[in-house]
């Protein structure tokens, strides 16, 4: 009887583990539509669309490794504002790359703290999320509003 109970518990545990680790299924979105809506909804300094060369320098990542992307950032070097929506081939790769963005944010916090503390604050309050195979980054005055726009874009 004990053996049967143990067997049943094991089976249930396996199902639970499988259920918990199930990959997040998300709809496809157009990154450029999301960044555009965010830039239009929140106050930003002059923003520019990042080129593949810019992205290589900013994140040391190659856009060939993305499935889709849109990165906009403040043209002036004095502002930390930035919005990035990047689709990786799968959720695992997106999660692995989250560390790259965490490191960049920390590095920029230390740079901006010296001469532009208000920009360092923006970086400290930045929203960095992984949703499905997407990475979302928002460094701006209203990062929570930017995140809501990103999340809502999957429901459209």
């Amino acid at each position: 009887m004990k053996k049967i109970a143990l067997f049943l518990v094991s089976i249930i545990s396996l199902f639970l583990i499988a259920g918990c680790s199930k990959k997040e299924e998300v709809a496809d979105i157009k990154p450029e539509d999301v960044t555009k809506e965010i830039v239009e909804s929140i106050e930003f300094p002059d923003m520019v669309q990042a080129t593949p060369d810019n992205i290589k320098i900013m994140y040391d990542l190659d856009v060939k490794d993305f499935e889709a992307y849109s990165v906009v950032y403040a043209g002036s070097g004095g502002n930390a504002d930035e919005v990035a929506v990047i689709k990786f081939p799968d959720e695992k790769t997106a999660k692995e790359n989250k560390k790259v963005f965490e490191d960049i944010i920390n590095e920029r916090i230390s740079i901006f703290s010296g001469y532009a503390p208000q920009e360092a604050e923006k970086l400290k309050n930045a929203e960095l999320k992984v949703k499905g195979s997407y990475i979302f980054l928002a460094v701006c005055e209203e990062p929570d509003k930017a995140l809501k726009i990103f999340n809502d874009s999957f429901k459209k």
């Binding site: 520019v48 004095g78 208000q118």
Partner: protein, 287 residues
């Protein structure tokens, strides 16, 4: 006709030598005739067809200047460092084409970052990072198109004909002029030693807005900027490198940066302000 030898072999040999000489003369005359017609050499000229007369050369050069200013600027920059004393600040010159920047690299801080961030210049033309100041110029690794390198390492790789340096805006609020100029001087020495063919231009640092002068956090006075820029001018003269005074080009009548030309911080540029700066550089190139 021929010398009669007892040895038949010798007779044959003499006959062949004459034939060879005759053939050579015929070939030479034929070549000369073809050469004259194809080379279109003017009568009396002794130049080979591969070369042209003086008038031809000058007309070709003129056409290059008209067609492509970048080639013109390259030939200008090949002249390397000035041999005699130079005139600083660099006086106004005929405006160069934007392609002049193909042979340039800009080194600087967050203000120079804007050159590439606004996609005005391609990232390979700008070696700059947000927090860069002159005290960190030898040690700070900057993200470039060739990976993370110090400014000096990146310059060695790129070997640009013209190097523009704009450093000082980061640091002027807390570093002494002496300290900054001393570091600047060492940096110039290193570049001159390793890239003797490159022209070095020191850019004066730009003014700030009136608002930035009285800001609660990190205020910067335009008088401090002016004082630092005069030290930069002396440094340029000492090192026999060029000095381009972009500060004057960006100042208003009150000696400050117009608010509409700057971002909220009163120091960094709006995109249009970079156009003013680059336009000034294109009209102030050392001859």
């Amino acid at each position: 006709m021929y010398k009669i030898n007892k040895n038949n072999k010798n007779k044959k040999f003499s006959y062949r030598i004459d034939m060879v000489v005759l053939s050579c003369v015929v070939v030479f005359i034929s070549c000369f005739v073809i050469y004259m017609f194809r080379g279109k050499i003017e009568p009396g000229s002794t130049k080979p067809a591969g070369q042209t007369s003086t008038s031809d050369t000058s007309s070709q050069n003129d056409s290059v200047v008209v067609k492509d200013n970048s080639q013109t600027s390259t030939s200008k920059t090949e002249s390397s460092k000035p041999e005699g004393p130079i005139v600083n600040p660099v006086p106004q010159s005929e405006k160069a084409d934007f392609s002049y920047f193909d042979n340039c690299v800009f080194i600087g801080d967050s203000i120079s970052v804007g050159l590439t961030a606004y996609n005005i210049l391609t990232p390979d033309k700008v070696i700059a990072s947000i927090g860069l100041n002159i005290s960190k110029i030898d040690s700070e690794k900057i993200s470039t198109t060739n990976g993370k390198l110090t400014a000096h390492e990146a310059l060695i790789q790129k070997k640009p004909a013209n190097i523009y340096i704009m450093l000082g805006s980061n640091g002027i609020a807390w570093m002494s002029n002496e300290s900054m100029i001393s570091k600047y001087s060492s940096f110039i020495d290193k570049i001159q030693a390793d890239l003797p063919e490159s022209k070095i231009y020191i850019l004066s640092i730009p003014p700030v807005t009136e608002g930035r002068e009285v800001a609660a956090e990190n205020p910067i006075k335009n008088t401090s900027i002016d004082s630092y820029n005069s030290e930069l001018l002396k440094l340029a003269n000492d090192k026999n490198v060029y000095f381009v005074d972009i500060n004057t080009a960006l100042k208003n009548n009150l000696g400050k940066l117009d608010t509409e030309k700057a971002e909220k911080d009163g120091m960094h540029f709006k995109k249009a302000t970079y156009d003013i700066m680059l336009d000034y550089i294109l009209t102030h190139i050392a001859q």
